[in-house]
Each structure stands twice: as C-alpha cells, then as structure tokens.
C-alpha cells in the first residue's frame, strides 16, 4: 500500500507505544490485538527502530496481514489487519 493509502485507512485501534524500548511495542501490539475482530485494522505507533521489522515478521507468523509503515518525524506508524 502507498503512504497515502495507509494514511487513508480506517483504523479500528491505535496502540501508542512511543517511548518504550524493544520489546515494548511488540508486546503492546500483542496485548491489543486480542481486542480486535478479524478484518479490523490496528495502527502501532513506535519510536523504536527495531519494531519496523519485528511487526511484519510477527504478522507473518501469527497470520495477520501487515499493511505497511509510514515514517513520521521521530516515530513510525505501522499498520496491520487481523
């Protein structure tokens, strides 16, 4: 998905894990995903560089769909679909 498409997504849940270090954002995502229904979209905000690669890998293993990442100033918005 393009940055514009990602930004236009209807997000069902936002997890703000900025300020936490690895594995904080990944664990925050894991905690929050239980609240989503299949097909719903979650956005994870992280200022931890490693999360950009951890979340896509985690999605593949857990059967979620990684949609893409948008770089903001000092943090990332990572999108995935349950």
């Amino acid at each position: 998905m393009t940055t514009e498409e990602l930004k236009a997504l209807k997000v069902d849940k936002t997890v703000d894990a900025r300020g936490t270090s690895c594995p904080g954002p990944l664990l925050a995502a894991k905690k929050a995903i239980g609240e989503l229904q299949p097909g719903q979209v979650m956005e994870v905000l992280s200022s931890d560089e490693g999360t950009k690669r951890d979340i896509p890998k985690w999605c593949t293993k857990k059967g979620y769909e990684y949609l893409g990442t948008v770089e903001e100033s000092g943090y990332f918005r990572i999108y995935l679909k349950k």
């Binding site: 664990l27 894991k30 857990k62």
Partner: protein
C-alpha cells in the same frame, strides 16, 4: 503447536537478566512455551531479599553506572517486571535448581520471588531441553 524454548539462566547480573527479559518478551509475542532453569548465580538474584537491590553487572563493569542510568532513561522495565509481563502473556515456567537454591541459603520456594514456580533437579532441565526447539544459556 507452540514452539518451545528453554533458558538455562546462570547469570545473577542485571545486564544479562535484562537481556533474558528482552528475549522472553520476544518469545511471549509469539506465544512460545518457555521453561527457565535458574542455576547457580541466578538463584542469588531470584532470592526475595536480592531481586530488587542486586545491581551487579557481568560485563563492561567499568560502565555500570552509565548502563544503569541508560536503563532508567529508556524506561526499560526492571528484569523482574519483564519476566512478569512475559508470564502474563504466554506460558513461562520458572524452575529454581535445588542445588543453586541451597548455595544461596534458599531451601523453600517461599525464599524466592513469586515468579518462581517450583524447585527442581537438573533432570527436569535435560528433559525439557531435549523436547525444546530453542535452548539458550544465559
């Protein structure tokens, strides 16, 4: 079926215990099943009176103050908190080695922090390691 990991946790130093906590977090994110065997020096760190006050580091000892200050600045959870979070999110069993416990004057489960599940012999470790997908020594 959940992947299995064992950690032979020998170190009683906060740097290595913190690293173990980070790895546990990764294992928890993937719903792995983890068995931790608390050996020798780690049993010291798991004793109730030591868990929060012990601030020894195993490596780069001349940088200890910088390291501890960085953990604070980064708001990294104390290793006991990281272990607790992992236990809440996936199956993590923490076994105290009976011999290690005795080395540090811990005979009963109650001598150790609540994270500990039981006191076992080394046979349990070998058994779990044989069945695990990943075996770590920290």
């Amino acid at each position: 079926m959940a992947k299995k990991m064992t950690i032979a946790l020998f170190s009683g130093s906060v740097d290595k215990l913190t690293a173990a906590g980070v790895i546990l977090g990764g294992a928890a994110a993937e719903d792995m099943e983890v068995d931790i065997f608390v050996l020798l020096q780690a049993a010291f760190a798991f004793k109730k009176e030591n868990a929060l006050t012990n601030d020894r580091v195993a490596e780069l000892t001349d940088k200890k103050e910088d390291f501890l200050a960085s953990l604070k600045r980064l708001e990294a959870p104390h290793w006991t908190e990281a272990f607790k979070t992992a236990k809440e999110m996936t199956t993590v069993r923490i076994h105290i080695c009976g011999f290690a416990g005795k080395v540090w004057g811990g005979e009963k489960l109650d001598d150790f922090i609540d994270l500990a599940d039981d006191i076992v012999g080394i046979g349990e470790y070998i058994d779990a390691a044989e069945k695990a997908d990943i075996n770590l020594f920290i």
